[in-house]
Symmetry: C2
Subunit: 226 residues, 2 copies
DNA sequence: CCGGTCCCATTGTGATCACAGAACTTGCAT
DNA sequence: ATGCAAGTTCTGTGATCACAATGGGACCGG
């Protein structure tokens, strides 16, 4: 650890060490690289990522602000546990915001954009038959956010990202328990609605997808946690 | 600045320096202590608040994560400007989330709680006739969040707090321009609905209050900014 | 009087160190 | 074998320093 460069600040905006650490941790949280309840330490992450504790502190602080990590009263940092209350609030917030994002994206989606999304959905189907949980989560994330990003609504998108960060670890744990084999999503309905330019249909498909997917993992895993 | 204590960490959870800095900055943002576009510097805030730059860095990082502050490409930190797009997204998100929070709070509100809210509304009326913009903003904040806090929905509350942080500075600037004299809110309607236990009425009153208040400042100030 | 160029002050970033408190481990006594 | 206490290690926090890059201002040439 002593041979690390003294100052690797390269100058530009997104190229700081804490930004890189933030993105790596965020990826792991989104896709289930951390289990709920897992404790993390600044020095531990720093050594693991090959940086000093300082940028890790800033990245962790940011993730705590986004509710992706939590700090206990004694200062220890951990991946938050899911509660039934929290799960239900996440479900509500997703249903309130994500259909709107999809609807706003609709008018801006070119046929090529829609085919990109369709291709992502095909990838998802492969992960489902293979039982590849992490692959499924990555694909599902890309399916939703590829659409949402076209809405050009950074404020709403930020809220939704914060919500996804809050249920990512739990989702992974839940899929680990109940499996993804019998999972049926509403992605096809969403794709057809997009191709038709049917805003109401797209809203309904996204809402159904959220309700179905969240119900799937909620039923399977939540009952066991209190 | 040299006579500062070397380490003032008192131990408990909420008593760290960066937490205190965070709360002070957050207050100023909520109630219009910073103007949009205002640039802030870590060392400047540190000296102003009597701490070293370190806790300021963490507090500012957190506020950036909550979108209350923004970082330009060159690393400079400033209070974000409002755009028409952003304003419209804020309006949508508030309308989607806040009536729900109020509705969830309703069953938990005791008559005494409602009278507390009614008293806050009386204070607001005083600030309106006095033209006390900051007092109005503090009162309006307390009116809404006193209700919302009773919903016991920390996840949703966090989203709403983040949204308020994003329009606080703009709201202050807007009121400074158009004044608060002719402002009519829907707080009385909300209070009556709460007293009746009328959930639909409360939802409608909150939604109307948001739409009216945001329309008030949006019409007055937004047209001038692009 | 105006425009460009160089220089210095200021800024965020990251490393390192010191410190206090919490937690875990170890050892001892019962 | 078990419970408790003391010591040690580990944790987050905050201060200070070094550094690179940006920005503004002064100075000079036109």
């Amino acid at each position: 650890m002593a041979e690390r460069l003294h100052n690797t600040q390269a100058g530009g905006a997104g190229s700081t060490a804490h930004e890189a650490v933030y993105r790596r941790l965020r990826e792991r949280i989104f896709f289930g690289g951390f289990l709920p309840g897992r404790a993390v330490t600044l020095r531990g992450l720093a050594e693991e990522l090959g940086v000093s504790p300082m940028p890790v502190r800033e990245a962790v602080r940011r993730l705590i602000a986004e509710r992706a990590l939590a700090m206990q009263g004694n200062g220890r940092v951990l991946v938050p546990l899911m509660t039934r209350d929290k799960f239900e609030q996440v479900l509500f917030a997703r249903s309130a915001l994500e259909p709107e994002l999809a609807a706003r994206a609709l008018s801006r989606l070119t046929p090529q954009d829609i085919e990109v999304v369709a291709h992502i959905d095909e990838e998802i189907d492969k992960t489902l038959v293979n039982g590849d949980t992490e692959g499924y989560m990555r694909g599902n994330f890309r399916f939703h956010f590829t659409i949402y990003e076209h809405a050009d609504a950074a404020t709403l998108l930020g809220l939704v990202e914060s919500i996804w960060l809050q249920f990512g670890p739990f989702m992974r744990m839940a899929y680990g328990r109940v499996g993804t084999k019998s999972l049926e999503d509403h992605h096809q309905a969403a794709l057809e609605a997009m191709r038709r330019g049917d805003e109401a249909g797209l809203r309904a498909a996204i809402r159904a997808d959220i309700g179905q997917g969240m119900g799937f993992i909620g039923d399977g895993a939540l009952e066991r946690l209190q």
